[in-house]
């Protein structure tokens, strides 16, 4: 049943996000060509791109909030909570969808930057380090320097961390809305308060373990300065540490949200 839930969730979010991400990519290509032509529509193209960029980021966040608060805890909840699926499936559905849409938005943003560079055919040589003149140069030199396996491994690892962080953020939003929904009045304000409370708690915990990250960061900087090919080892350590800490936060938010939805549900 999770597969069926995901199918409808993707269709609900995709009808808004896909045109928006498509428009972002189109605007980035237009901006690139405008730069290449030295056209005076450049300023307008920058503005359109910037607006679409901010809109894509904000809409992703708003949809994460809305697909939980409206679809589950609003009037549509009368449909969703009477489907014969478990509470766990409902929550995984929202979390997986949030992770994938965050990832797709990030990928679209990176592609839009590449499109601007490629379409503008700009000369970046003065701005870049050494003789890196294009995205291709950058990748091939990174492969030569660190080794192909290391670079690809690190990229996959960073992607996994982005997914865990997105999932954890979405679950923090869900837990805040679920806790806020338990009070009778001012639910919105209460949810925002709970979210801020969770964030403060997170930062206190992260500060406690953060000194270790700081030392690793310094270590990476020293290794890069020394031209040490082992610099990526430090990146692995930071990525894995962040991944584990955020996964633990995410698991706690998941458990709290599941408990409220499964055992304390009071749909208006």
């Amino acid at each position: 049943m999770l597969g069926s839930l995901l199918k409808y969730e993707f269709s609900a979010v995709g009808r808004i996000m896909l045109p928006l991400l498509g428009a972002l990519l189109a605007a980035s290509a237009v901006l690139g060509f405008a730069i290449r032509a030295g056209s005076n529509i450049g300023t307008a193209a920058v503005l359109v791109y910037a607006v679409l960029f901010v809109a894509a980021m904000l809409t992703t966040l708003i949809l994460i909030i809305q697909r939980f608060s409206k679809n589950l805890l609003g009037s549509e909840g009368y449909l969703m909570f009477t489907l014969p699926v478990s509470t766990g499936s409902q929550l995984w559905n929202k979390t997986i969808s949030a992770i994938i849409w965050c990832l797709l938005t990030n990928i679209a943003v990176v592609i839009s930057w590449i499109l601007i560079m490629v379409c503008s055919d700009a000369d970046f040589s003065a701005m870049t380090y050494g003789n890196v003149n294009s995205v291709g140069d950058f990748i091939s030199q990174a492969f030569d320097y660190f080794g192909k396996g290391q670079v690809i491994g690190t990229a996959v690892e960073l992607l996994a961390v982005v997914m865990i962080v997105s999932g954890s953020l979405a679950l923090k939003v869900y837990a805040s809305i679920a806790v806020g929904h338990e009070v009778e009045n001012h639910r919105g304000i209460c949810s925002v308060g709970v979210f801020i409370g969770f964030s403060i708690l997170e930062s206190i915990i992260l500060n406690a373990v953060g000194d270790k990250f700081g030392d690793i960061g310094k270590d990476i900087a020293v290794k890069i300065a020394d031209n040490t090919a082992n610099a990526l080892t430090g990146v692995h350590e930071v990525a894995i540490s962040i991944g584990i800490v955020m996964a633990i936060f995410g698991a706690i938010y998941f458990a709290a949200t599941w408990f409220i939805m499964d055992r304390k549900l009071n749909l208006d």
Binding site: M1, S4, L79, F81, T82, P84, R263
Partner: protein, 231 residues
Amino acid sequence: MSIIECRDLTKRYGSLTAVNNINLDLEKGRIIGLLGPNGSGKTTFIKMANGLLKPTAGTITIDGNVPGVQTKSVIAYLPDREYLPDYMTVGKIKRLYSDFYFDFNEEKANAMLQSLNIPENMSIRKMSKGTKEKLQLIMVMARDAKVYFLDEPIGGVDPAARDYILRTIISNYNPEAAVVISTHLIADVESVLDDVVFIQNGNIVLHKGADELRAESGKSVDGVFREVFRC
């Protein structure tokens, strides 16, 4: 044989008791009127049966199970509000019901949609309030469920639509099922009821066969209701 069983079922909101210590057995193969004025606890009771509200105390079971995945697969529930996502079309809603409910009878749904001239590609956003209510009823009654909970199915619609809704219920429900119709418009539903349950301030004040009640009191169910709930 009882398909819905409540034992000491209670729901409180702070100091307000919406459902008070209800003990009730409802049998299958019957159309049951859950009758009471506004605020008497009808919707709260139905929402607990559907797992949308958790009881403060006591239990409710459907076909031997507490509300959960198992009961949701055998209950067809019509809430007292618009609940279908308005960006979806009729065709998509039908596919959704078909994907999730093994007892959804698509042919039955198609026949009802055609009789009302509701096209598959029509978006819910573009429908009138009355058409939305009819579509919701069609999706619920196209299921071959064990229990139907219909919360105020005729509230807020014109008399012609009331007739259509009652006809749809009568001609489509699974005869082996229990059909619980909650309403305060007794006269309109009286003719279809097998059993009546009167609920007042969260308490069950009467549970009888409709014919038995009429024979004993010499009045219609509507007449008895007006007497019991006189303001």
